[in-house]
Structures are given as C-alpha cells and as structure tokens.
Symmetry: C2
Subunit: 159 residues, 2 copies
C-alpha cells in the first residue's frame, strides 16, 4: 500500500518560486479544472481491509512537465495536495487526503460550480467523500454503495 | 479549398439555448483555454496563391460532444466563430476569420493573459495575425517569416 505524505515542507526550486507566487483567480481555477481536472474514485481489492476493499478518491490535474509551475500554483491555491511525476513527461497535482478533499476541494467546487459535464462527476465524487467522512467505506454495505456511484463516474479524464 | 461561412443565423437546438444563456466569466474562459484551447497556424501549399502557399491561422477549442453547450457558450462569449463536428465524437469551436481573430480573440488574450506555456504560443499566433492584417502573408518574404514563426508553435494541443 502506497502511503503518501502530504508534506508542508516540500519546496519547489528557486526558479519556480517566483512563478508560483502568481495568485490564481477562482474562476480561472474552475475553467482550468473544467478542462484538465479529474475526480476519480478507485475501489480496489485489499486483503488488509475488513471489507476486502480500499476506497481511494482523488482529485487530479495532469499537465506536461513544461507547465509544472501551474500545478504548484494550484497546490498553493488549495493549500493542500502534492505535485508528483505522473508518467513519461507528465506531472500531476493530486489530493488524496479525505480531510483535504472534504474540507477544501469539495467546498470550493460547491461554491464555484464547474460548467462542463465534469460537474456531474464532481457531484458523485462529493457523495463518495461525504460517505467516507461518515465512515461508510468501512462497511460492506457502504463499499457496495460507493462502487455503484464510482461505476457511473470518470468520463474519460487523464489522471 | 474549403470556404467556411461564419453565419450569424446559425442556431443551436432549443434544448441548448437555455444552457448557452449561461454567461461565462472572462477568467473562466482563460482557465478553460489554458487547458483546452489551441492556437494554430497552418501554412499549406496552394497553387492558386501567388506565393504558392496559403496561411491559415485558427483558434480552436475541442470537446467531447457531451459538452457541446460549452462550445456554444464560447461562441456567444467571443461573438464570433463556428461550432462544428471535429472527428468521431469530438466537437470544435473554431475561429478562422482574420478579422475576428485580430479584433476579438487576440485583444481578449492580450487583456487576459493565459497562465500556462500556451501563452508563448499565443504570442507567436498574435505575431502571425498582425503580419496577416498588414498583408504580409501575400508576399514570399512574409510567408517565409510566418513559416518560421509557425514552426516554433503548436506544442501538442488538440484541434
């Protein structure tokens, strides 16, 4: 099982720092996420879990490495998440912490709704996050419910 | 040679009309174009042109057909361009008219700069549009200059 430490001390290089300092506008963030964002819920078999499954929701924005500065700007904007290599020349901004998802990501997109069909995915994603906050992903019935929601999501986005 | 009529009377279906009426915010448009937009300059051999080449700049946003309403909203926002089938299940919002590019698209992105590296492409695109407004694309020297600029553009966007 991969544990991801969302370190507060992780620092980008000096050359990036000036670019990151650009403040993002909330509407710009919504537009960019409408284009490039991904709300994904993984439900994976996991022998260590009582239910037999691990539920992994994640919010991701993937970019070519030339635009890594915009991923750090998103990290700063939301005040959570990590920037990591994705695959090949692609980098990803990623939020997996259920606390950060429920307290920062979900409220932001409730206040500033997406304009594309990605909004429908977001609403299902929010349902899953809310169920997890209640601990439902730790019961077989909850996992089944989340699986059903997740199966209707993820309409072709890169993550 | 394909002639594209940018008709003012082209009307989307009734069901789309209500969705299109959503006003887009300028910052949202910049964010969305940072993610999904494409500034492209085609320089194609063309026997009817004195220079032997036709220069075709275009601004495009491509989406899955499920999000066609957002393409119509962009058309309404910029007050120009067309929405057309691209290929398979993809639709495109497209502006090719040099007048619309120079009087609407370019000034908008000058006033509201893109935040990703797509901004660099935009600046080159603007150079080409300005050269064309002066008529430079009708001279061999101008075409050569535009070809050089175009060869440094188009960093992997869908159109």
């Amino acid at each position: 099982m991969e544990l991801e430490i969302e370190s507060q001390t992780e620092e980008p290089s000096e050359t990036l720092r000036s670019v990151i300092s650009q403040r993002l506008d909330a509407h710009w963030v919504v537009g960019f996420v409408d284009g490039e964002g991904c709300f994904y819920v993984g439900v994976n078999p996991h022998p260590d879990m009582k239910t037999g499954y691990q539920v992994l929701p994640e919010f991701t924005v993937v970019q070519h490495e030339r635009d890594i500065q915009i991923l750090y700007a998103l990290k700063k904007f939301f005040g959570c998440g990590v920037v990591r290599k994705n695959h090949a020349d692609r980098m990803a901004y990623r939020v997996r912490s259920i606390t950060h998802l429920s307290e920062r990501i979900v409220p932001f997109f409730e206040k500033h709704p997406l304009k594309t069909k990605k909004h429908v995915d977001f609403l299902k994603f929010r349902d899953v996050v809310n169920l997890m906050v209640r601990g439902d992903h730790l019961t077989p019935l909850g996992v089944e419910r989340i699986r059903k929601i997740a199966s209707m999501m993820n309409t072709g986005c890169e993550r």
